[in-house]
Symmetry: C2
Subunit: 315 residues, 2 copies
């Protein structure tokens, strides 16, 4: 099954305690589609400026990402983001955001895109997310939505509308607390499950992720890395692995979602090993399967849950 | 196999955003031994004052905890700790510590204790931990050690000696970073593995725990709770479940350690559901096995790691 992603394509300037890199290809739509492309056809709806490098578009095409929905605005400038990470790599401090061509972005879906069975509404103004949803010819099998603190603060009503029509909300831990006003993640997820979505994915960075449905909880650790080069795009790459796996299997059962979360974890672990999508763009299927096996080994402790423990009969 | 624990027994006054409780039974030795007693014989070496309540000692005896090594100092006062938790329950803010009888504590092991096959050196002045180790008649099968920021700062040389002779160091995430000067947990654990211990357990509170040996890594999530009443003692309860399981099985293989970490997680999840060790003291074996099964379900995603993923042959 194919996936439509609508979201930002950007050039990022990223400073870490080790290095600074200027004008690296980035943006949620890029990370998401590269990750998902390993498992499923993906098409991107986005906008870039006339400064967008042809080899960046070609790299996406080389990964069989359908970029016919990427509009190039002549004379316009591509989205720019400048950010800095501290020693713990746990949070990006945005130094500058220039919307450029995204300031006037009115997503217009091509005919094929309007019938996509999987939709990823990457972090965008929720009014645009809503507009995209309403252009669809039919309800997708799965609508997954991401957001950020800015929209939770400034466009809460619009965001609530989008959440209601989403099957899956992918949200980081700080955001779910902000969105629900609830400091306990289990209760926060339950609150969102009561609003429409049937699955909530809470991204916890280096602590992994949690997946909630009504009645099921699944927890995935992060892949333990000795060296993180640049965390930019990890969340979108995670989403790409997650949705890519589900679409590739054409199976959104709970058990498939559990594995999809692990695949998302695997893909995110590669994303942070380089600046920009470089590592992702060079990734082989064998590397993905190897890391999936390592995650299995990382979390395995028993063949089943009904082990008889060596319990004493204490009072 | 039996376990010797040497550590503080205390009366705690704990304030949470919801409630305040005065003079609750606490201290690492209490939480540890109650948790471990479900799986293995435990004996405690500690000191209390003449104010120590007889029913608290009796509760430990009722759980078949051997308290013959708990010395009562006539006219002395039991250790006191006063602390407060914020809304996220993620860190205790110590408001007051009164060592009282622990100020002059010189642990003196009874004959049986000196031959214990398992030893838990709970968080204590590392000079005392060292002294305990040197009273042993024979090297235990497993020496596990806990510590805290105070000793890392003030008694680093003494602590380094204790780490060298420990098989397992149980340490929380902030402490391992402080101890090693390394912000990456994987590298921090490797640094400690190079100093003597063959296993490092990193406790991450609500994010679970990680277990490192030379060549193996295991990650356990925390049990997701909707309501945390009081996190006090969670780490020591975790250690009690971990060591209790290993001693109860008489098996310290890697696979046993993986399950032990889950048992520690299970026990810690009960500890935080009440003030003090109340929930732990009323716990049944069936409840422990049920939560073990829930943790299995929480982390299960595949029968093995060699799944063929639905990979496309993208460039």
């Amino acid at each position: 099954m194919s996936i439509l992603v609508v979201g930002v394509i950007a050039y990022d300037t990223v400073k870490t305690p080790v290095e600074i890199r200027h004008e690296v290809l980035g943006g949620p739509a890029v990370y998401f589609s590269l990750a998902a492309s390993h498992f499923s056809p993906v098409s991107v709806t986005a906008v870039v400026g006339s400064d967008f490098r042809e080899n960046d578009l070609q790299m996406l095409r080389d990964h069989e990402v359908d970029v016919t929905g990427v509009r190039r605005v002549q004379g316009g400038k591509t989205f720019r983001w400048v950010a800095e990470y501290g020693e713990r790599f746990d949070e990006a401090h945005t130094l500058d955001t220039q919307l450029n061509v995204f300031a006037d972005f009115k997503p217009s879906l091509l005919a094929d895109a309007r019938r996509s069975p999987f939709l990823f509404l990457a972090n965008l103004d929720p009014d645009l997310q809503w507009d995209v949803f309403n252009q669809l010819d039919q309800r997708p099998m799965l609508v997954a939505t991401d957001t950020m603190n800015l929209w939770i603060n400034d466009k809460n009503d619009s965001l609530q509308k989008v959440i209601k029509i989403s099957d899956t909300l992918l949200i980081n831990e700080a955001e779910i607390k902000q969105l629900t006003g609830e400091m306990n993640v289990v209760r926060a997820a339950q609150q969102l499950l009561d609003q429409g979505p049937s699955m909530i994915v809470v991204k916890r960075g280096q602590y992994g992720s949690m997946f909630f449905t009504n009645g099921e909880v699944f927890a995935a650790p992060a892949y333990p890395l000795e060296t993180v080069v640049d965390p930019t795009g990890a969340g979108d790459t995670f989403a790409g692995g997650f949705l890519g796996y589900l679409a590739g299997c054409n199976d959104i059962s709970i058990d498939s979602c559990r594995r999809a979360l692990i695949v998302g974890t695997v893909m995110a672990s590669f994303a942070v090993e380089s600046f920009g999508p470089e590592r992702l763009s060079l990734l082989t299927g064998a590397e993905i399967e190897e890391r999936y096996a390592q995650l299995w080994r990382l979390t395995y402790f028993d063949q089943s849950g009904d082990r008889k423990l060596p319990l004493r009969s204490v009072a």
